[in-house]
Symmetry: C2
Subunit: 418 residues, 2 copies
């Protein structure tokens, strides 16, 4: 009961703040963002002290090294987090932007303009930097935010959010616009997910388990950012040199992220020429190859790919390889196994490029470029809240615009319904 009430109070306060926040000028919001960045740097000692606590707990609980690395902060990382906020201050304010305007035969002028969504709940895992990114993006787009980080980083998140919230309030941002959930109980999340009276959108940033939990418990709409099972298809007419460069980049440059390639599809007519060299390059870089039976006919010393492999987001230096008969078979494989994140074709054939772009159902479809480029910064959108893998509301890199809704404004001079 107590948790329920505490969470509900946060929601109510956030809603109240959101009304005022929605009409604040860009100048006030930008000044607050710059102040928040400054105060983060000034408060570095306090944040690092809190972070030390989280790191000690994580080590005691023997969390994996990669996990602890994501948790770790130092002066440099805090400076980067602060720079992120300064970058957000530089981005154009999406609020109030008119996206369309037209006139009707009865003289009524109709416009569509961007407005904030209202209150956003962000649920994320270990990286404490997300606390500042999410707070900055929500504030710039005129939304109140309630942040719920992982319990492993609760001390760091509290310290960061406390500083941000104070800096915001002292710069004219209404109290309650930036809040954190201090409670680490699971119950607190469950209650948050039921607050549909106050919260307009939930943004989960985490794995499949988190998404499932939210789908089953939330009465609030959410935009999910989950897995990326990305393919690259090397077509018969691919430029081999370009294909090698792109395929290497898509797998090796940073294998642990959602836009890295997991399965390589190769046209049968180019496989004999392309695969032996490519696989050698991969092996030299430490990539484990798992191939279909036809792949094993072309390159030796690789493991068998099983049905499970086509369904697996490795997030490490493992790659499944399949030889296909045609662009149609490639598209069909992607349609069966892809996660709708990012897919690429390497080809010199105009018609196959067009076909792939049209028929592949994914948030980003690439011709002759690496799936690793699927990213808000790479697209020129600025900072992103993550990459949406759903079709409702927004799809692909989620930038400031995607944190807004739109409303119709109608300028009349006495029009009525006939």
């Amino acid at each position: 009961m107590e948790i329920k009430e505490l969470v509900s109070q946060k929601g109510k306060l956030a809603k109240k703040a959101s009304r005022e926040l929605a009409t604040l000028s860009t100048g006030v919001k930008n000044n607050a963002l710059l102040k928040m960045a400054d105060e983060l740097e000034k408060g570095a000692a306090r944040i690092l002290e809190a972070n030390k606590g989280d790191l000690e707990n994580a080590q005691k609980q023997k969390f994996p090294k990669a996990f602890i690395d994501r948790l770790f902060l130092n002066k440099e990382r805090i400076k980067d987090i602060a720079s992120g906020l300064k970058e957000i201050a530089k981005l154009p304010d999406p609020v109030g932007e008119g996206t369309k305007m037209w006139q009707r035969p009865n003289g009524m002028r109709i416009g569509k303009i961007r407005v904030p969504i209202g209150v956003i709940g962000v649920i994320y895992e270990s990286r404490p930097g997300v606390t500042a990114d999410a707070a900055g993006l929500c504030l710039k787009s005129g939304n109140s935010v309630i942040l719920r980080g992982g319990s492993e980083s609760i001390n760091s998140n509290r310290a960061i959010a406390g500083i941000l919230s104070n800096a915001a309030t002292s710069s004219g941002i209404p109290e309650g616009a930036v809040q954190i959930m201090e409670m680490t109980e699971r119950e607190a999340v469950t209650e948050l997910l039921k607050l549909d009276t106050y919260i307009d959108l939930i943004i989960p940033r985490g794995g499949e388990e988190l998404i499932r939990f939210i789908r089953e418990n939330s009465t609030i709409p959410f935009v999910r950012h989950d897995k990326g099972l990305c393919h690259t298809f090397v077509d018969r007419d691919a430029n081999i040199e370009m294909a090698e460069k792109i395929c290497f980049n898509a797998k090796v440059q940073r294998p642990g992220v959602c836009n890295a390639m997991e399965t390589l599809l190769v046209h049968k007519d180019i496989a004999g020429k392309f695969l032996p060299l490519m696989v050698k390059k991969y092996k030299d870089a430490g990539v484990e190859i798992r191939g279909c039976s036809r792949t094993k006919g072309v390159v030796s010393d690789i493991k068998d790919a099983t049905e499970d492999d086509w369904r697996t987001e490795y997030l490490e230096l493992i790659l499944s390889v399949k030889i296909v008969d045609s662009v149609e078979e490639a598209i069909s494989h992607i349609s069966d196994y892809g996660s709708g994140h990012s897919e690429a074709i390497i080809t010199s054939n105009y018609f196959n490029a067009q076909k792939f772009l049209r028929e592949v159902d994914a948030s980003s479809v690439f011709v002759n470029a690496s799936t690793r480029l699927a990213d808000g910064n790479q697209y020129g959108l600025g900072a992103e809240m993550g990459i949406s893998t759903q079709k409702l509301h927004c799809r692909g890199p989620m930038g400031l615009e995607d944190l807004t809704s739109q409303k119709y404004i109608i300028y009349g001079d006495g029009q009525v319904r006939q």
Copy 2:
């Protein structure tokens, strides 16, 4: 178990059809829509026979007259339903439309294009015409649809959907693109709402109870179309003649719909001049007035408005009236009691108009026009799926564009992530 399987099969078939449907040409879709319209008219006798069954059941169960009227079909109404499909054929195809395209410093060209959402489940109440509207809009926007009408109109819906589905399939639309739920059990809806593997979007068209049921049971995102508690604020500087015309229209022209006015707010300085005449007009038209205490000081012979009245969507010839001190108080009342549907200000004051447009949080905000104009056809969007009262995905009249998602397409020539 059997229902669960039947529903699941429908979902699977719809998903399969959606892949093919997504890339069909506009010509094929339009021909199918025209064929569907023709076949509906040719099948009128069969539909009317089925409708007779529904009407007899409804009369046995003593449903209200208005309900039975919505259920009722005749040749004329079937012709109107068919015309609706022909109108949809004339609308521009949203699929494939490019909404943006830009170039990045590395030479990569990025575009955003509209794509179908996939599979849409439409859950609606008595009016059988919705069966055809929903099927037509989904087909034109390249989406498979699973229709679930009210059990009261099951015979009419089955007859209509059967004809539409056959006409579609015989015109080259994949089987399963237009399906109806024949099962009237509640369990069938509950199962439908869990089919997140196959269904991408649920569109409920019904009252608050339906929305609550869906919110609590759906694991699929939905766009809700629920109540409209609309206000009109007559400002101090309103043109009285224009205010009378608009306020009369907003309440009286068709009181039973979501964009009709429920509460009239009047600035204190114009109330004495405006309200007596306006209330007389309303009373002559049979409108019952419920006023705040200050209103009762200006006009006699009216009922008291209670706190409950500010929260009530009457949907009939009843109007609550409140006198306010300022545009700020009007906005604050709307913010406390409005449903975010459609709100209007009548004013000659430039600053108050701008303030109202900016600060009122609703899907449509009007200056000097009737809230009754909040409608897809009136806005020039063509047929609509309803009026969304939520902020995610789309807000306001939901036309063909709002039945699409977008994807990024990237034209590269060898770009990789640095």
